[in-house]
């Protein structure tokens, strides 16, 4: 039979030492499980697709400062130059960039009226090449044609008759069935009708933390603005070479404006989730260091208790206990202590999670993660104690006959 009786009696004699280890394990579990959980939530957010062909797209800001600048004809000239550049797949003027943090949102509703609750959506003004330039997938309906595109002045609040929306937005507006949306009329500005002429699979809004971040709309307008952006998609692998080339071409063609902020979508994604990534790195470091500290703490205390019991161990060896039995004794002792810690830790982890949920609007913990955490810490305990236990097992039976070691 396993030596549970003597083991418990030995533990009771050093209650505090055992309790300290148990408490450490409990707190480690509490922090570890919640930290991993927070990391998972962020990873899920970061894994969402923006809908854009991120690898092969970039954009730039075009800021005009000259007086009496022919905005319309020069935009046409710029787009024409870009589209003719070998390696460019498509280019469009656009008012905002997905994931970038700055943009325009409006409410859409299926019935007109001031008292109808609208559904929020990001608005992207694009021309006929918008869908190709972004690289979004058209699920149903059709792209805008040349005749759909109208000019929009900076302070205008008039809306063209057509709109293309994302699948998620269509589902939200039409009771979960996006197919119903095609051809329907939606209302913007509470009263102005627009017809849904196309549905795209996915396109994220400029705000990654927004509840409606999967809601986006494409509107066929060109902006008559002194500040606007051009969004460009290239053939695979040619983006990085084309970026400086196009920047220089635009900057040289016209001295009445500044071309600035030339950025890839890959950079934009990294910037957008920079804080998420940083927080995850910190959490990961905390988990690793914490586990190490707990592990070394266990090593230290086990070494100490083995040192104190050298003669006792020697006596047991002299009385016929095998090396394996000695090792098993310390491994089991640690398992017992760790189990107590894990049980306390489960309570702690759930408690901390409840606090986090109520204070920071997080979602509750999953039981699977908690179990994995428990198993991991029991394993850490066993690994940590195995070295001191090995040393204990190597104590010579002859120690029993000597004086204090």
């Amino acid at each position: 039979m396993l030596e549970l009786g003597p083991m418990l009696r030995a533990l009771m004699r050093n209650k505090i030492g055992a309790l300290l280890i148990a408490l450490q394990i409990a707190l480690t579990l509490t922090i570890m499980v919640n930290a991993i959980f927070m990391m998972q939530e962020r990873n899920r957010q970061m894994a969402r697709a923006s809908g854009v062909d991120e690898q092969n797209t970039f954009y730039l800001s075009n800021t005009v400062f000259g007086e009496n600048y022919p905005l319309q004809s020069n935009l046409a000239r710029d787009l024409d130059q870009i589209r003719k550049t070998p390696g460019v797949v498509a280019a469009t003027q656009i008012n905002a960039i997905p994931l970038s943090g700055g943009g325009w949102s409006m409410g859409l509703q299926t019935k007109p009226g001031d008292d109808v609750d609208g559904t929020g959506t990001a608005v992207y003004f694009v021309d006929t090449q918008g869908i190709t330039a972004l690289g979004v997938e058209l699920l149903a309906g059709e792209n805008f044609s040349e005749s759909d595109i109208s000019w929009r002045e900076r302070t205008s609040n008039k809306w063209p008759p057509k709109i293309i929306i994302t699948q998620k937005l269509a589902e939200k507006l039409f009771d979960g069935d996006w197919k119903k949306a095609l051809g329907q009329t939606v209302y913007i500005n509470n009263h102005d009708p627009m017809q849904v002429t196309g549905i795209v699979k996915s396109l994220q809004s400029p705000w990654n933390g927004w509840d409606n971040t999967e809601h986006a709309s494409l509107v066929p307008s060109q902006l008559e603005n002194k500040g606007s952006r051009l969004f460009i998609r290239t053939e695979p692998g040619r983006r990085d070479a084309l970026m400086p080339q196009i920047e220089k071409m635009l900057a040289d063609s016209d001295k009445q404006r500044i071309i600035r902020n030339v950025k890839t979508m890959t950079e934009t994604r990294a910037e957008s989730y920079r804080e998420h990534q940083a927080t995850n790195n910190i959490l990961l470091t905390v988990i690793i260091v914490l586990t190490l500290i707990t592990g070394f703490g266990i090593v230290g205390l086990a070494m100490f208790s083995i040192n104190r019991r050298t003669r006792q161990i020697g006596t047991r060896r002299a009385l016929g206990a095998s090396q394996w039995q000695i090792m098993r004794f310390f491994m089991l002792e640690n398992l017992l202590i760790s189990s107590l810690g894990v049980v306390l830790g489960i309570g702690g982890a759930i408690g901390l999670n409840i606090w986090l949920v109520s204070t920071f609007a997080m979602t509750p913990l999953t039981p699977g993660l908690l179990l994995v955490g428990c198993a991991a810490l029991l394993l850490v305990g066993q690994l940590a104690v195995s070295y001191p236990a090995l040393i204990a097992a190597r104590i010579s039976p002859a120690t029993a006959t000597r004086g204090r070691a």
């Binding site: 505090i16 030492g17 300290l20 280890i21 408490l23 450490q24 707190l27 480690t28 509490t30 922090i31 919640n34 930290a35 927070m38 800021t63 400062f65 000259g66 007086e67 008292d115 609750d117 002045e153 302070t155 205008s156 609040n157 008039k158 500005n189 509470n190 009263h191 102005d192 002194k226 500040g227 500044i258 600035r260 910037e271 920079r274 804080e275 990534q277 940083a278 927080t279 790195n281 910190i282 959490l283 905390v286 260091v289 914490l290 500290i293 707990t294 070394f296 703490g297 230290g300 205390l301 100490f304 208790s305 040192n307 104190r308 901390l352 986090l356 920071f360 204090r404």
Partner: protein, 436 residues
């Protein structure tokens, strides 16, 4: 006596160097993590203008959608409509008042070789500078007449002044901004309040502006407005309609030195809202707020959730490290039972022994604290490089934080040493001597 205890502590640590190292490391890591997160939280929640934060009040009115509150918790919107802000500003019911919004424009250097560049600015009224104690290097702000006459005057930062005028006094000179000639009235020194309390609508830790122009120019459509702009009610097309709309993009601060003035101003804005209500605006229940700087920053929760969550984690982390230390100290002191027995037999009192072991724990704490400071510095550098520019001013150890780190380290290690010390003092000398 103290130096003798120090010597004993050193000898004892040397004898069990592995354990001592483990303890110092554990405390250092705990202190490092705690100090990194405490510093970020401390700087995020700092008072950016302590000398008069209780005299500056942010004005909030609620002219928002009657069917939907602006904030879910019912707080009024965080900015004002242009028409409300200008009406209150023109009424001059406060000794000083600053109406403002973000602005942006292209600056064209006089040197034709230099490239034009985009600059972020602020459109504000004359009182902005004296109200927020903006430090001037040369010249000053503009006067109220410049606001009323929509004069093309500008205040620039020393960075812009260095770039365009080689750092010389440029007051009176011309700056080509947004296609117009502006007269420079002043150059300000580096000024970066953290949080940037006077405008947190685009985030509380943004860089401060590169130029300042009169707010009244905003109605002339010369500079672009930058920052947040939220609308709930459809507007007509055209700039005039936009200025009269229910869109919010303007901020108003008032300086009210006495309690009586605060009450007066509150009743003034209440009366204003009630009057507007009669004309069919302000359909929501009366919801006007005057908040001083710190109340305002708390209302808008400028300390990020991540930061406070991290701090909670780090403090628990420190607790684990301390539990670790308690365990190791306990092991160490109990291992010294025979030495303690000898010292007792030679006449050391329990008080002596207690002090001796507290000194030993304190030394370990001090070593851990110093190493922890190095780790905290490394941690803050890592935070800066991972989070980016806006963290740069929030990840700096100041004197208070260094002091806190040392005290926290020594205090917590002495605390951790209390129980092991007490146990050590319970040793019966006779038993120990017998066992020798």
């Amino acid at each position: 006596m103290f130096s003798y205890y120090l010597k004993l502590a050193w000898l004892s640590s040397k004898r069990t160097w592995g354990m001592s190292l483990l303890m110092v490391l554990a405390i250092a890591l705990g202190i490092g993590a705690a100090m990194t997160t405490i510093t970020v939280n401390y700087l995020m929640s700092a008072n950016p203008i302590p000398q008069k934060s209780d005299q500056l009040f942010y004005v909030q009115l609620d002219a928002w959608d009657p069917n939907n509150p602006y904030f879910d918790n019912g707080d009024p919107p965080d900015q004002l409509t242009y028409r409300d802000a200008t009406t209150l500003w023109q009424a001059k019911k406060a000794p000083r008042q600053s109406i403002a919004t973000g602005a942006a424009g292209v600056i064209e250097p006089a040197d034709k070789e230099a490239l034009p560049f985009m600059a972020q600015g602020r459109a504000n009224s004359a009182d902005f500078f004296p109200m927020f104690d903006v430090p001037f290097l040369y010249g000053s702000g503009w006067d109220e007449q410049a606001d009323l006459n929509k004069e093309f005057v500008v205040v620039i930062t020393s960075e812009i002044n260095d770039r365009l005028f080689g750092g010389k006094d440029s007051t009176g000179q011309t700056l080509r901004l947004a296609g117009k000639d502006f007269r420079i009235t002043g150059v300000i020194k580096r000024w970066q309040p953290q949080p940037r309390f006077y405008d947190i609508s685009t985030g509380a830790f943004q860089d401060s502006e590169e130029f300042f122009v009169p707010f009244s120019l905003m109605s002339e459509q010369i500079l672009g407005q930058s920052g947040n702009n939220n609308c709930w009610k459809p507007t007509e097309s055209g700039f005039k309609a936009y200025l009269d709309s229910e869109c919010i993009w303007t901020q108003l601060w008032v300086e009210l030195p006495t309690k009586a003035e605060v009450e007066q101003y509150q009743s003034y804005i209440d009366a204003y809202a009630d009057e507007q209500h009669k004309f069919g605006r302000f359909a929501r229940t009366r919801n006007n707020k005057l908040s001083d700087v710190m109340t305002w920053l708390e209302q808008r929760e400028v300390v990020s959730e991540d930061a406070s969550m991290m701090m909670a984690m780090a403090l628990m982390f420190l607790t684990v490290c301390l539990l670790n230390t308690v365990g190791l100290l306990l092991a160490k002191f109990l291992g010294k039972a025979s030495e303690i027995g000898v010292r007792q037999a030679l006449g050391a009192s329990r008080r002596d022994l207690f002090l001796q072991h507290l000194v030993e724990s304190g030394c370990i704490g001090l070593a851990g604290g110093l190493l922890g400071l190095v780790l905290a510095w490394l941690g803050l550098e890592a935070v800066k490089s991972m989070y980016g520019d806006w963290m740069a001013e929030l990840a700096v150890l100041d004197f208070n934080m260094v002091l806190l780190a040392i005290l926290l380290a020594i205090g917590s290690s002495i605390l951790a040493g209390l129980y092991p010390t007490w146990r050590a003092c319970q040793v019966q000398p006779s038993q120990q001597l017998k066992a020798q």
